[in-house]
Symmetry: C2
Subunit: 109 residues, 2 copies
Amino acid sequence: MSQTANTPKPPYYAVIFTSIRSDGDNGYAKMAEKMVALAGEQPGFLGMESAREDAGITVSYWKDLPSIENWKNHTAHMAARQKGKEIWYDSFQVRICRVERAYEFNRET
Amino acid sequence: MSQTANTPKPPYYAVIFTSIRSDGDNGYAKMAEKMVALAGEQPGFLGMESAREDAGITVSYWKDLPSIENWKNHTAHMAARQKGKEIWYDSFQVRICRVERAYEFNRET
């Protein structure tokens, strides 16, 4: 993603997903693309940021905890997470956070 | 960083820093390395994760809000942030979050 997420004023929620991939693609890139699109369609979705070097970091932003729970229980997302554990990731961490304060800087042009 | 952060049980705090860099290094890489080392020496620091593709994401973890405030007011960090606005970043966002829940997966080997 080439942009940072344009989120509303806090409070809202963030899910920080950090991961170490296993070797090889094994269908990962295609599924990741699908999941990004599908997450964007969910109620309460506010935005997403993602980057990977050695470790990958994906932060998704949500209106509230029920929105996160709803996405967690989405059938296609559950299936993707299962394959993540079986094949795509050596390790990952998920952190559910309440965004309490936020500020931004934009260069004047 | 090749590892994800090994943080304690929630609650604790996360600072999500997302950014778009300006063109050229202009001393950025050297200063970034210094800031990572310096942050790691601060009281209440719990860990850090970082990755950059088009956008950069750095998440630092802290024991509590005063620890974050203390790092924010560190003289060398303030000077680095000022240069960030003047030179290194086209835009950035900072989000201060309370980590409420966390879980992890590690492949059995």
